[in-house]
Protein backbone atom coordinates (compact mmCIF):
# COMPACT_ATOMS: atom_id res chain seq x y z
CA UNK A 1 0.00 0.00 0.00
CA UNK A 2 2.77 2.42 1.05
CA UNK A 3 4.76 1.56 -2.04
CA UNK A 4 1.76 2.20 -4.28
CA UNK A 5 1.14 5.59 -2.70
CA UNK A 6 4.82 6.47 -2.99
CA UNK A 7 4.89 5.50 -6.67
CA UNK A 8 1.73 7.48 -7.29
CA UNK A 9 3.23 10.48 -5.56
CA UNK A 10 6.41 10.26 -7.64
CA UNK A 11 4.50 9.93 -10.92
CA UNK A 12 2.41 12.89 -9.87
CA UNK A 13 5.54 14.96 -9.36
CA UNK A 14 6.98 13.91 -12.73
CA UNK A 15 3.72 14.70 -14.45
CA UNK A 16 3.39 18.06 -12.74
CA UNK A 17 6.96 18.99 -13.64
CA UNK A 18 6.24 18.37 -17.31
CA UNK A 19 2.91 20.08 -17.00
CA UNK A 20 4.47 23.27 -15.69
CA UNK A 21 5.92 23.73 -19.18
CA UNK A 22 2.40 24.47 -20.35
CA UNK A 23 2.89 27.92 -18.92
CA UNK A 24 4.41 28.96 -22.23
CA UNK A 25 1.77 27.19 -24.30
CA UNK A 26 0.42 28.44 -27.61
CA UNK A 27 -3.05 29.86 -27.90
CA UNK A 28 -5.46 29.28 -30.70
CA UNK A 29 -5.55 31.83 -33.45
CA UNK A 30 -8.21 34.48 -33.08
CA UNK A 31 -7.44 36.26 -36.32
CA UNK A 32 -10.39 37.12 -38.52
CA UNK A 33 -10.46 38.63 -41.96
CA UNK A 34 -11.77 42.17 -41.88
CA UNK A 35 -13.95 43.08 -44.83
CA UNK A 36 -15.73 45.99 -43.27
CA UNK A 37 -14.37 48.95 -41.38
CA UNK A 38 -17.22 48.47 -38.89
CA UNK A 39 -15.82 45.22 -37.59
CA UNK A 40 -12.20 46.36 -37.40
CA UNK A 41 -10.33 46.80 -34.15
CA UNK A 42 -11.86 49.48 -31.98
CA UNK A 43 -9.25 52.13 -31.65
CA UNK A 44 -8.76 55.83 -31.75
CA UNK A 45 -7.70 57.44 -34.99
CA UNK A 46 -9.39 58.01 -38.32
CA UNK A 47 -11.50 55.33 -39.91
CA UNK A 48 -12.22 54.87 -43.60
CA UNK A 49 -15.81 55.92 -42.99
CA UNK A 50 -14.63 59.24 -41.52
CA UNK A 51 -12.85 60.02 -44.76
CA UNK A 52 -15.96 59.13 -46.76
CA UNK A 53 -17.98 61.49 -44.54
CA UNK A 54 -15.56 64.35 -45.21
CA UNK A 55 -15.59 63.62 -48.93
CA UNK A 56 -19.39 63.77 -48.91
CA UNK A 57 -19.33 67.13 -47.14
CA UNK A 58 -16.87 68.59 -49.68
CA UNK A 59 -18.90 67.35 -52.66
CA UNK A 60 -22.06 68.83 -51.10
CA UNK A 61 -20.31 72.16 -50.64
CA UNK A 62 -19.25 72.24 -54.30
CA UNK A 63 -22.83 71.56 -55.33
CA UNK A 64 -24.48 74.01 -52.93
CA UNK A 65 -22.19 76.88 -53.83
CA UNK A 66 -22.74 76.23 -57.56
CA UNK A 67 -19.00 76.60 -58.21
CA UNK A 68 -19.20 74.89 -61.58
CA UNK A 69 -22.31 76.74 -62.76
CA UNK A 70 -20.88 80.15 -61.87
CA UNK A 71 -17.59 79.36 -63.53
CA UNK A 72 -19.24 78.12 -66.69
CA UNK A 73 -21.40 81.22 -66.86
CA UNK A 74 -18.27 83.35 -66.86
CA UNK A 75 -15.86 81.28 -68.94
CA UNK A 76 -18.11 78.89 -70.85
CA UNK A 77 -15.90 76.03 -69.73
CA UNK A 78 -15.67 73.62 -66.81
CA UNK A 79 -13.36 74.72 -63.98
CA UNK A 80 -10.16 72.77 -63.51
CA UNK A 81 -9.55 71.58 -59.95
CA UNK A 82 -6.21 70.38 -58.58
CA UNK A 83 -6.39 68.45 -55.35
CA UNK A 84 -3.37 69.43 -53.28
CA UNK A 85 -1.91 66.68 -51.13
CA UNK A 86 -3.49 66.94 -47.70
CA UNK A 87 -1.39 68.09 -44.77
CA UNK A 88 -1.33 65.45 -42.06
CA UNK A 89 -0.73 66.70 -38.53
CA UNK A 90 -2.28 63.67 -36.84
CA UNK A 91 -0.29 60.77 -35.48
CA UNK A 92 -1.75 58.39 -38.04
CA UNK A 93 0.12 57.67 -41.28
CA UNK A 94 -1.47 56.62 -44.57
CA UNK A 95 -4.47 58.91 -44.02
CA UNK A 96 -3.50 61.45 -46.67
CA UNK A 97 -3.08 58.99 -49.52
CA UNK A 98 -6.38 57.23 -48.81
CA UNK A 99 -8.21 60.53 -48.39
CA UNK A 100 -6.83 62.02 -51.59
CA UNK A 101 -7.56 58.95 -53.70
CA UNK A 102 -11.02 58.66 -52.18
CA UNK A 103 -11.82 62.33 -52.69
CA UNK A 104 -10.72 62.47 -56.33
CA UNK A 105 -12.48 59.19 -57.15
CA UNK A 106 -15.70 60.33 -55.48
CA UNK A 107 -15.68 63.68 -57.25
CA UNK A 108 -14.98 62.14 -60.63
CA UNK A 109 -17.84 59.71 -60.09
CA UNK A 110 -20.32 62.38 -59.02
CA UNK A 111 -19.47 65.13 -61.50
CA UNK A 112 -19.30 64.97 -65.27
CA UNK A 113 -16.37 66.38 -67.21
CA UNK A 114 -18.64 69.23 -68.29
CA UNK A 115 -19.05 70.21 -64.64
CA UNK A 116 -15.48 69.83 -63.36
CA UNK A 117 -12.14 68.82 -64.78
CA UNK A 118 -9.33 67.56 -62.56
CA UNK A 119 -5.60 68.07 -62.83
CA UNK A 120 -3.37 65.19 -61.74
CA UNK A 121 -0.54 66.72 -59.70
CA UNK A 122 1.07 63.64 -58.17
CA UNK A 123 4.84 64.04 -58.41
CA UNK A 124 5.42 60.72 -60.21
CA UNK A 125 2.75 61.58 -62.79
CA UNK A 126 4.21 65.06 -63.21
CA UNK A 127 7.63 63.53 -63.87
CA UNK A 128 6.21 61.08 -66.41
CA UNK A 129 4.18 63.80 -68.15
CA UNK A 130 7.25 66.05 -68.26
CA UNK A 131 9.37 63.30 -69.82
CA UNK A 132 6.65 62.55 -72.37
CA UNK A 133 6.41 66.20 -73.35
CA UNK A 134 10.16 66.42 -73.78
CA UNK A 135 10.12 63.34 -76.01
CA UNK A 136 7.34 64.89 -78.11
CA UNK A 137 9.12 68.20 -78.44
CA UNK A 138 12.36 66.53 -79.49
CA UNK A 139 10.50 64.61 -82.16
CA UNK A 140 11.19 61.30 -80.50
CA UNK A 141 7.46 60.78 -80.05
CA UNK A 142 4.45 61.94 -82.04
CA UNK A 143 2.32 64.80 -80.78
CA UNK A 144 -0.92 66.59 -81.64
CA UNK A 145 -1.15 70.31 -82.00
CA UNK A 146 -2.93 72.04 -79.18
CA UNK A 147 -2.32 69.31 -76.63
CA UNK A 148 1.06 70.45 -75.46
CA UNK A 149 0.09 72.52 -72.47
CA UNK A 150 -0.45 71.07 -69.04
CA UNK A 151 -3.68 71.96 -67.32
CA UNK A 152 -3.56 75.10 -65.25
CA UNK A 153 -5.82 74.77 -62.24
CA UNK A 154 -8.60 77.28 -61.61
CA UNK A 155 -9.05 76.03 -58.07
CA UNK A 156 -6.93 74.29 -55.48
CA UNK A 157 -8.76 71.93 -53.16
CA UNK A 158 -6.69 71.60 -50.03
CA UNK A 159 -7.24 69.58 -46.87
CA UNK A 160 -5.54 69.37 -43.52
CA UNK A 161 -5.88 66.85 -40.71
CA UNK A 162 -5.08 67.93 -37.18
CA UNK A 163 -5.43 66.06 -33.95
CA UNK A 164 -5.40 66.59 -30.25
CA UNK A 165 -4.15 63.34 -28.76
CA UNK A 166 -4.13 62.47 -25.09
CA UNK A 167 -3.51 59.35 -23.07
CA UNK A 168 -3.57 58.32 -19.44
CA UNK A 169 -1.98 54.95 -20.20
CA UNK A 170 -5.35 53.21 -20.11
CA UNK A 171 -7.24 55.25 -22.69
CA UNK A 172 -6.14 56.94 -25.86
CA UNK A 173 -8.23 59.94 -26.76
CA UNK A 174 -7.93 61.52 -30.20
CA UNK A 175 -9.96 64.46 -31.46
CA UNK A 176 -9.37 64.69 -35.19
CA UNK A 177 -10.23 67.83 -37.11
CA UNK A 178 -10.52 67.55 -40.86
CA UNK A 179 -10.43 70.98 -42.51
CA UNK A 180 -10.71 71.67 -46.21
CA UNK A 181 -10.71 74.76 -48.39
CA UNK A 182 -11.25 75.73 -52.01
CA UNK A 183 -8.89 78.44 -53.23
CA UNK A 184 -9.14 80.48 -56.42
CA UNK A 185 -5.70 80.15 -58.03
CA UNK A 186 -5.93 83.53 -59.81
CA UNK A 187 -6.75 85.63 -56.79
CA UNK A 188 -5.96 83.31 -53.82
CA UNK A 189 -9.55 84.01 -52.73
CA UNK A 190 -10.88 81.50 -50.28
CA UNK A 191 -14.08 80.27 -51.92
CA UNK A 192 -15.10 78.07 -49.04
CA UNK A 193 -13.59 76.49 -45.97
CA UNK A 194 -15.08 73.88 -43.70
CA UNK A 195 -14.26 71.49 -40.92
CA UNK A 196 -15.38 68.12 -39.68
CA UNK A 197 -14.54 67.01 -36.16
CA UNK A 198 -14.47 63.42 -34.91
CA UNK A 199 -13.53 62.21 -31.45
CA UNK A 200 -12.37 58.69 -30.76
CA UNK A 201 -11.43 57.09 -27.47
CA UNK A 202 -10.00 53.62 -27.22
CA UNK A 203 -9.14 51.53 -24.21
CA UNK A 204 -5.67 50.09 -23.93
CA UNK A 205 -5.12 47.02 -21.82
CA UNK A 206 -3.04 48.25 -18.90
CA UNK A 207 -1.68 44.75 -18.36
CA UNK A 208 0.44 45.11 -21.46
CA UNK A 209 2.83 47.01 -19.29
Amino acid sequence: MKMRILLSFLSLLVFASFASGVGTGCRDSTRVDIDDDEVGPESSGPYARDLVEVTDVIVDKLKKQKISENFRAKWNDAPIVAVIRAQNDTRFPEVTQIFQEDLVTAMMERFTREQYRFSQRDSDVQAAVGAEKEAKESGERTDRTGRRTKLGADYFLKAKFSTLSMTDGEYEDDTILYTYELIDTETDELIFKGGHKIRRVSEKSAVYR
Binding site: K2, F18, A19, G45, T90, P93, Y208
Partner: protein
Amino acid sequence: MLTKMLRLGAFTLLPFLALGCQSVYDAKAAMREGGYQRVMTDTMDVESFPERDQTLILNYRAHSKMALGYHESATADYLRAWNIMNHGKGGGVAGAYFFSERQKWWMGDPYERAFNSWYLGMLYYQLGKPEDAMACFRNAIFVDTGDLKQGEYAADWLPAFVMRMRCFLSRGDSASVQMLLDEISRLPKEQANYDAACPWLSVEAQKDANVVLMLELGEGPFFTAEGHHGSQRVINQGEYREAYAEVFCDGQSLGRSYKIGDTFFQAITRGGRVMDDILKGKAIAKTATIATGATAIFVGAELAAHGHDDAGLITAGVGAAVLIAGLLMNAEADTRGNALLPGETHLLMAKLPPGKHELEVRYFDKGGSELRGMRQQGVPCMVPEQGDAALVLRSDPRYYIPRESSLIKADPYAHLKPVKSK
Protein backbone atom coordinates in the same frame (compact mmCIF):
# COMPACT_ATOMS: atom_id res chain seq x y z
CA MET B 1 -8.25 4.90 -6.70
CA LEU B 2 -5.47 7.47 -6.37
CA THR B 3 -3.71 5.94 -9.38
CA LYS B 4 -6.94 6.09 -11.37
CA MET B 5 -7.36 9.74 -10.54
CA LEU B 6 -3.81 10.42 -11.64
CA ARG B 7 -4.25 8.55 -14.90
CA LEU B 8 -7.45 10.43 -15.66
CA GLY B 9 -5.77 13.75 -14.92
CA ALA B 10 -2.77 12.87 -17.01
CA PHE B 11 -4.84 11.78 -20.02
CA THR B 12 -6.94 14.93 -19.79
CA LEU B 13 -3.90 17.16 -19.82
CA LEU B 14 -1.79 15.20 -22.30
CA PRO B 15 -3.16 16.87 -25.45
CA PHE B 16 -2.59 20.22 -23.79
CA LEU B 17 1.04 19.27 -23.17
CA ALA B 18 1.51 17.73 -26.59
CA LEU B 19 0.74 21.06 -28.27
CA GLY B 20 4.19 22.12 -27.31
CA CYS B 21 5.56 25.52 -28.08
CA GLN B 22 8.21 27.25 -30.08
CA SER B 23 10.52 29.44 -28.12
CA VAL B 24 10.68 33.08 -29.17
CA TYR B 25 12.91 33.74 -32.15
CA ASP B 26 16.52 34.49 -31.17
CA ALA B 27 17.33 37.42 -33.45
CA LYS B 28 20.71 38.06 -31.85
CA ALA B 29 21.86 34.50 -32.54
CA ALA B 30 20.60 34.78 -36.12
CA MET B 31 22.55 38.03 -36.55
CA ARG B 32 25.72 36.35 -35.30
CA GLU B 33 25.23 33.43 -37.66
CA GLY B 34 24.15 35.13 -40.86
CA GLY B 35 23.48 38.82 -40.30
CA TYR B 36 20.41 40.63 -41.60
CA GLN B 37 20.06 38.22 -44.52
CA ARG B 38 19.61 35.34 -42.07
CA VAL B 39 17.01 37.25 -40.04
CA MET B 40 15.10 38.18 -43.19
CA THR B 41 15.10 34.58 -44.43
CA ASP B 42 14.13 33.12 -41.04
CA THR B 43 11.20 35.51 -40.67
CA MET B 44 9.88 35.14 -44.21
CA ASP B 45 6.82 33.21 -43.04
CA VAL B 46 5.49 35.28 -40.16
CA GLU B 47 2.43 33.04 -39.84
CA SER B 48 4.63 30.11 -38.83
CA PHE B 49 5.41 31.85 -35.54
CA PRO B 50 3.00 31.84 -32.59
CA GLU B 51 0.48 34.62 -33.02
CA ARG B 52 1.55 36.21 -29.77
CA ASP B 53 5.07 36.76 -31.18
CA GLN B 54 4.14 37.87 -34.68
CA THR B 55 4.33 41.61 -34.01
CA LEU B 56 7.88 41.21 -32.76
CA ILE B 57 8.74 39.02 -35.75
CA LEU B 58 7.30 41.64 -38.10
CA ASN B 59 9.54 44.26 -36.52
CA TYR B 60 12.54 41.96 -36.98
CA ARG B 61 11.64 41.28 -40.59
CA ALA B 62 11.13 44.97 -41.31
CA HIS B 63 14.42 45.84 -39.63
CA SER B 64 16.39 43.28 -41.63
CA LYS B 65 14.78 44.41 -44.90
CA MET B 66 15.57 48.03 -44.11
CA ALA B 67 19.18 47.10 -43.32
CA LEU B 68 19.52 45.35 -46.69
CA GLY B 69 18.03 48.20 -48.70
CA TYR B 70 14.51 46.81 -49.38
CA HIS B 71 12.86 49.98 -48.16
CA GLU B 72 9.38 49.58 -49.66
CA SER B 73 9.00 46.06 -48.37
CA ALA B 74 10.31 47.13 -44.96
CA THR B 75 7.76 49.97 -44.91
CA ALA B 76 4.92 47.51 -45.48
CA ASP B 77 6.11 45.33 -42.58
CA TYR B 78 6.67 48.22 -40.22
CA LEU B 79 3.22 49.56 -41.09
CA ARG B 80 1.62 46.17 -40.42
CA ALA B 81 3.38 46.02 -37.06
CA TRP B 82 2.47 49.67 -36.44
CA ASN B 83 -1.21 48.92 -36.93
CA ILE B 84 -1.09 46.08 -34.41
CA MET B 85 0.95 48.07 -31.90
CA ASN B 86 -1.25 51.17 -32.16
CA HIS B 87 -4.72 49.94 -33.11
CA GLY B 88 -4.69 46.36 -31.81
CA LYS B 89 -6.08 45.34 -28.47
CA GLY B 90 -3.68 42.42 -28.20
CA GLY B 91 -4.63 39.12 -26.65
CA GLY B 92 -3.64 36.40 -24.22
CA VAL B 93 -3.94 38.65 -21.19
CA ALA B 94 -6.27 36.32 -19.27
CA GLY B 95 -3.85 33.41 -19.70
CA ALA B 96 -0.99 35.59 -18.50
CA TYR B 97 -2.65 35.99 -15.10
CA PHE B 98 -2.05 32.31 -14.33
CA PHE B 99 0.34 30.91 -16.92
CA SER B 100 3.40 32.59 -18.37
CA GLU B 101 3.34 36.31 -19.10
CA ARG B 102 4.55 35.29 -22.54
CA GLN B 103 0.96 34.24 -23.29
CA LYS B 104 0.30 37.88 -24.06
CA TRP B 105 0.71 39.22 -27.53
CA TRP B 106 3.92 41.18 -27.74
CA MET B 107 3.03 44.84 -28.16
CA GLY B 108 6.34 46.40 -27.11
CA ASP B 109 7.39 48.76 -24.36
CA PRO B 110 7.02 52.51 -24.98
CA TYR B 111 10.55 52.80 -26.38
CA GLU B 112 9.98 49.83 -28.71
CA ARG B 113 6.74 51.35 -29.96
CA ALA B 114 8.53 54.67 -30.46
CA PHE B 115 11.25 52.95 -32.49
CA ASN B 116 8.64 51.20 -34.65
CA SER B 117 6.98 54.53 -35.45
CA TRP B 118 10.30 56.26 -35.97
CA TYR B 119 11.69 53.67 -38.39
CA LEU B 120 8.42 53.76 -40.32
CA GLY B 121 8.65 57.55 -40.40
CA MET B 122 12.25 57.47 -41.63
CA LEU B 123 11.30 55.11 -44.43
CA TYR B 124 8.35 57.30 -45.45
CA TYR B 125 10.62 60.33 -45.35
CA GLN B 126 13.21 58.65 -47.57
CA LEU B 127 10.48 57.46 -49.95
CA GLY B 128 9.26 61.05 -50.38
CA LYS B 129 6.16 60.86 -48.19
CA PRO B 130 6.76 63.63 -45.65
CA GLU B 131 3.12 63.79 -44.52
CA ASP B 132 3.09 60.13 -43.51
CA ALA B 133 6.54 60.56 -41.97
CA MET B 134 5.29 63.53 -39.96
CA ALA B 135 2.45 61.43 -38.54
CA CYS B 136 4.86 58.67 -37.55
CA PHE B 137 7.27 61.02 -35.80
CA ARG B 138 4.37 62.56 -33.94
CA ASN B 139 3.16 59.11 -32.90
CA ALA B 140 6.68 58.18 -31.76
CA ILE B 141 6.48 61.09 -29.33
CA PHE B 142 2.90 60.23 -28.31
CA VAL B 143 3.52 56.57 -27.45
CA ASP B 144 6.59 57.56 -25.47
CA THR B 145 4.53 59.83 -23.21
CA GLY B 146 2.81 58.61 -20.05
CA ASP B 147 0.01 60.18 -18.08
CA LEU B 148 1.44 63.64 -17.57
CA LYS B 149 -1.30 64.58 -15.09
CA GLN B 150 -0.02 61.79 -12.86
CA GLY B 151 3.54 63.04 -13.24
CA GLU B 152 4.56 60.17 -15.47
CA TYR B 153 7.30 60.24 -18.09
CA ALA B 154 7.29 62.75 -20.94
CA ALA B 155 8.78 62.03 -24.33
CA ASP B 156 12.48 62.84 -24.28
CA TRP B 157 13.83 60.73 -27.14
CA LEU B 158 15.22 63.35 -29.52
CA PRO B 159 15.37 61.50 -32.87
CA ALA B 160 11.60 61.84 -33.27
CA PHE B 161 11.78 65.56 -32.42
CA VAL B 162 14.62 66.19 -34.88
CA MET B 163 12.87 64.44 -37.75
CA ARG B 164 9.63 66.25 -36.99
CA MET B 165 11.57 69.47 -37.33
CA ARG B 166 12.78 68.32 -40.76
CA CYS B 167 9.16 67.73 -41.79
CA PHE B 168 8.14 71.19 -40.61
CA LEU B 169 11.05 72.69 -42.54
CA SER B 170 9.93 70.89 -45.69
CA ARG B 171 6.69 72.90 -45.32
CA GLY B 172 8.65 76.07 -44.63
CA ASP B 173 7.28 76.20 -41.09
CA SER B 174 10.12 77.58 -38.96
CA ALA B 175 7.78 78.58 -36.12
CA SER B 176 6.90 74.95 -35.44
CA VAL B 177 10.60 74.04 -35.49
CA GLN B 178 11.15 76.64 -32.80
CA MET B 179 8.23 75.21 -30.80
CA LEU B 180 9.89 71.77 -30.83
CA LEU B 181 13.24 73.25 -29.90
CA ASP B 182 11.58 74.98 -26.96
CA GLU B 183 10.20 71.61 -25.86
CA ILE B 184 13.68 70.09 -26.07
CA SER B 185 15.19 72.97 -24.11
CA ARG B 186 12.76 72.22 -21.27
CA LEU B 187 14.00 68.61 -20.97
CA PRO B 188 16.47 67.77 -18.21
CA LYS B 189 20.01 67.91 -19.58
CA GLU B 190 20.70 64.26 -18.80
CA GLN B 191 24.02 63.20 -20.34
CA ALA B 192 22.78 59.60 -20.14
CA ASN B 193 19.92 60.52 -22.46
CA TYR B 194 21.44 62.97 -24.92
CA ASP B 195 24.41 65.21 -25.43
CA ALA B 196 23.27 68.77 -24.75
CA ALA B 197 26.34 70.01 -26.68
CA CYS B 198 24.72 68.77 -29.90
CA PRO B 199 25.22 71.76 -32.23
CA TRP B 200 22.11 71.23 -34.37
CA LEU B 201 19.48 72.15 -31.81
CA SER B 202 18.71 75.58 -33.22
CA VAL B 203 16.49 76.83 -36.04
CA GLU B 204 19.47 78.28 -37.92
CA ALA B 205 21.43 75.01 -37.78
CA GLN B 206 18.38 73.06 -38.90
CA LYS B 207 17.73 75.41 -41.80
CA ASP B 208 21.36 75.45 -42.84
CA ALA B 209 21.80 71.67 -43.13
CA ASN B 210 20.73 69.52 -46.06
CA VAL B 211 22.19 66.20 -44.87
CA VAL B 212 20.78 64.40 -41.81
CA LEU B 213 22.64 61.30 -40.65
CA MET B 214 21.06 59.19 -37.95
CA LEU B 215 23.85 56.90 -36.81
CA GLU B 216 22.90 53.92 -34.69
CA LEU B 217 25.57 52.61 -32.35
CA GLY B 218 25.82 49.39 -30.36
CA GLU B 219 23.21 47.00 -29.09
CA GLY B 220 20.05 47.96 -27.29
CA PRO B 221 18.84 46.74 -23.90
CA PHE B 222 17.63 43.21 -23.27
CA PHE B 223 15.48 41.64 -20.56
CA THR B 224 16.19 38.80 -18.16
CA ALA B 225 13.84 37.12 -15.66
CA GLU B 226 15.39 37.11 -12.23
CA GLY B 227 14.43 36.88 -8.56
CA HIS B 228 11.72 34.76 -6.99
CA HIS B 229 10.54 32.27 -9.66
CA GLY B 230 11.98 34.64 -12.26
CA SER B 231 9.20 37.09 -11.50
CA GLN B 232 11.36 40.17 -11.76
CA ARG B 233 11.98 41.59 -15.23
CA VAL B 234 15.44 43.11 -15.27
CA ILE B 235 16.51 45.52 -18.00
CA ASN B 236 20.13 44.98 -18.99
CA GLN B 237 22.28 47.31 -21.00
CA GLY B 238 23.66 45.95 -24.25
CA GLU B 239 27.44 45.75 -24.55
CA TYR B 240 29.24 47.74 -27.22
CA ARG B 241 32.43 49.70 -27.64
CA GLU B 242 31.53 52.41 -30.15
CA ALA B 243 30.99 55.80 -28.50
CA TYR B 244 30.76 58.19 -31.43
CA ALA B 245 31.35 58.42 -35.15
CA GLU B 246 33.13 60.76 -37.52
CA VAL B 247 31.91 61.16 -41.08
CA PHE B 248 33.98 62.08 -44.12
CA CYS B 249 32.81 63.24 -47.51
CA ASP B 250 35.21 63.33 -50.44
CA GLY B 251 38.12 63.13 -48.00
CA GLN B 252 36.91 66.04 -45.87
CA SER B 253 35.66 65.53 -42.33
CA LEU B 254 32.07 66.63 -41.77
CA GLY B 255 32.60 66.40 -38.03
CA ARG B 256 31.67 64.03 -35.25
CA SER B 257 28.29 62.70 -34.22
CA TYR B 258 26.41 63.62 -31.04
CA LYS B 259 24.18 61.34 -29.02
CA ILE B 260 20.51 62.30 -29.23
CA GLY B 261 18.97 59.07 -27.95
CA ASP B 262 19.95 56.33 -25.52
CA THR B 263 17.79 53.23 -25.74
CA PHE B 264 18.76 51.85 -22.33
CA PHE B 265 17.94 55.19 -20.71
CA GLN B 266 14.56 55.14 -22.45
CA ALA B 267 13.89 51.58 -21.28
CA ILE B 268 14.65 52.21 -17.60
CA THR B 269 12.85 55.54 -17.27
CA ARG B 270 9.38 54.48 -18.39
CA GLY B 271 8.17 53.54 -14.90
CA GLY B 272 7.12 50.21 -13.47
CA ARG B 273 4.63 47.95 -15.16
CA VAL B 274 1.24 46.85 -13.85
CA MET B 275 2.38 43.34 -14.71
CA ASP B 276 5.32 43.56 -12.29
CA ASP B 277 2.95 43.56 -9.30
CA ILE B 278 0.91 40.71 -10.76
CA LEU B 279 4.07 38.62 -11.25
CA LYS B 280 5.19 39.34 -7.71
CA GLY B 281 1.85 38.09 -6.40
CA LYS B 282 2.02 35.04 -8.66
CA ALA B 283 5.48 34.12 -7.35
CA ILE B 284 4.28 34.23 -3.73
CA ALA B 285 1.12 32.28 -4.60
CA LYS B 286 3.15 29.68 -6.51
CA THR B 287 5.45 28.97 -3.57
CA ALA B 288 2.53 28.80 -1.12
CA THR B 289 0.48 26.53 -3.39
CA ILE B 290 3.33 24.08 -4.01
CA ALA B 291 4.12 23.89 -0.28
CA THR B 292 0.45 23.38 0.61
CA GLY B 293 -0.05 20.71 -2.04
CA ALA B 294 3.09 18.78 -1.10
CA THR B 295 2.17 18.87 2.59
CA ALA B 296 -1.34 17.64 1.85
CA ILE B 297 0.00 14.71 -0.20
CA PHE B 298 2.40 13.78 2.57
CA VAL B 299 -0.36 13.92 5.17
CA GLY B 300 -2.64 11.90 2.89
CA ALA B 301 0.04 9.26 2.41
CA GLU B 302 0.58 9.04 6.15
CA LEU B 303 -3.16 8.71 6.81
CA ALA B 304 -3.38 5.91 4.24
CA ALA B 305 -0.38 4.18 5.77
CA HIS B 306 -2.13 4.18 9.13
CA GLY B 307 -5.26 2.55 7.81
CA HIS B 308 -7.32 5.66 7.04
CA ASP B 309 -7.51 4.85 3.36
CA ASP B 310 -10.48 7.04 2.38
CA ALA B 311 -9.35 10.12 4.31
CA GLY B 312 -5.81 9.60 3.03
CA LEU B 313 -6.92 9.38 -0.59
CA ILE B 314 -9.08 12.47 -0.38
CA THR B 315 -6.34 14.49 1.31
CA ALA B 316 -3.71 13.31 -1.17
CA GLY B 317 -6.05 13.98 -4.10
CA VAL B 318 -6.74 17.52 -3.00
CA GLY B 319 -3.02 17.99 -2.33
CA ALA B 320 -2.16 16.71 -5.80
CA ALA B 321 -4.60 19.13 -7.39
CA VAL B 322 -3.18 22.04 -5.41
CA LEU B 323 0.38 20.96 -6.23
CA ILE B 324 -0.38 20.74 -9.94
CA ALA B 325 -1.97 24.16 -9.84
CA GLY B 326 1.11 25.54 -8.13
CA LEU B 327 3.46 23.97 -10.63
CA LEU B 328 1.39 25.09 -13.58
CA MET B 329 1.34 28.63 -12.32
CA ASN B 330 4.14 30.49 -14.06
CA ALA B 331 5.42 33.66 -12.45
CA GLU B 332 8.29 34.17 -14.86
CA ALA B 333 8.54 37.62 -16.38
CA ASP B 334 8.25 38.09 -20.11
CA THR B 335 11.73 38.67 -21.51
CA ARG B 336 10.68 39.25 -25.11
CA GLY B 337 12.02 42.47 -26.54
CA ASN B 338 13.23 43.88 -29.82
CA ALA B 339 16.82 42.63 -29.80
CA LEU B 340 17.77 44.47 -33.01
CA LEU B 341 17.43 47.98 -31.63
CA PRO B 342 20.60 50.04 -31.24
CA GLY B 343 22.15 51.14 -27.96
CA GLU B 344 22.38 54.78 -28.99
CA THR B 345 21.17 57.05 -31.77
CA HIS B 346 23.57 59.77 -32.88
CA LEU B 347 23.02 62.78 -35.09
CA LEU B 348 25.34 64.40 -37.58
CA MET B 349 24.12 67.17 -39.86
CA ALA B 350 25.97 68.85 -42.68
CA LYS B 351 25.54 71.02 -45.73
CA LEU B 352 26.75 69.54 -49.01
CA PRO B 353 26.35 70.67 -52.61
CA PRO B 354 23.39 69.02 -54.35
CA GLY B 355 24.32 65.84 -56.19
CA LYS B 356 25.82 62.43 -55.53
CA HIS B 357 28.30 62.02 -52.71
CA GLU B 358 30.05 59.14 -51.05
CA LEU B 359 30.51 59.09 -47.32
CA GLU B 360 32.94 57.29 -45.09
CA VAL B 361 31.90 56.64 -41.51
CA ARG B 362 34.47 55.82 -38.83
CA TYR B 363 33.48 54.68 -35.37
CA PHE B 364 35.48 55.37 -32.23
CA ASP B 365 35.51 54.06 -28.67
CA LYS B 366 35.37 56.27 -25.58
CA GLY B 367 39.13 56.69 -25.62
CA GLY B 368 39.10 58.01 -29.18
CA SER B 369 40.57 54.89 -30.80
CA GLU B 370 39.01 53.94 -34.09
CA LEU B 371 37.22 50.60 -34.30
CA ARG B 372 38.58 49.72 -37.74
CA GLY B 373 36.36 46.71 -38.28
CA MET B 374 33.29 48.95 -38.28
CA ARG B 375 34.47 51.49 -40.84
CA GLN B 376 31.97 51.98 -43.66
CA GLN B 377 33.11 53.35 -47.01
CA GLY B 378 31.30 54.36 -50.16
CA VAL B 379 28.03 55.11 -48.37
CA PRO B 380 25.89 56.78 -51.07
CA CYS B 381 24.32 60.12 -50.22
CA MET B 382 22.18 61.83 -52.83
CA VAL B 383 21.63 65.46 -51.89
CA PRO B 384 18.60 66.96 -53.67
CA GLU B 385 18.36 70.49 -55.04
CA GLN B 386 15.60 71.17 -52.53
CA GLY B 387 14.98 69.46 -49.23
CA ASP B 388 17.50 67.14 -47.66
CA ALA B 389 19.07 63.69 -47.64
CA ALA B 390 18.21 61.75 -44.49
CA LEU B 391 19.96 58.46 -43.81
CA VAL B 392 19.82 55.86 -41.05
CA LEU B 393 23.08 53.97 -40.74
CA ARG B 394 24.07 51.30 -38.20
CA SER B 395 27.59 50.73 -36.89
CA ASP B 396 27.65 47.41 -38.70
CA PRO B 397 29.45 47.03 -42.05
CA ARG B 398 26.67 44.65 -43.14
CA TYR B 399 24.13 47.51 -43.02
CA TYR B 400 23.51 48.61 -46.58
CA ILE B 401 22.35 51.96 -47.93
CA PRO B 402 20.86 51.30 -51.37
CA ARG B 403 22.20 53.29 -54.31
CA GLU B 404 19.80 51.76 -56.84
CA SER B 405 16.07 52.55 -56.75
CA SER B 406 15.29 49.08 -58.11
CA LEU B 407 16.51 47.56 -54.82
CA ILE B 408 14.39 49.95 -52.77
CA LYS B 409 11.27 48.73 -54.57
CA ALA B 410 12.32 45.08 -54.94
CA ASP B 411 10.60 42.09 -53.38
CA PRO B 412 13.30 40.61 -51.14
CA TYR B 413 11.87 37.11 -51.49
CA ALA B 414 11.35 37.23 -55.27
CA HIS B 415 14.21 34.78 -55.91
CA LEU B 416 12.63 32.27 -53.53
CA LYS B 417 9.25 32.22 -55.26
CA PRO B 418 8.58 29.70 -58.02
CA VAL B 419 8.36 31.19 -61.52
CA LYS B 420 4.93 30.58 -63.05
CA SER B 421 5.07 28.89 -66.43
CA LYS B 422 3.00 30.50 -69.19
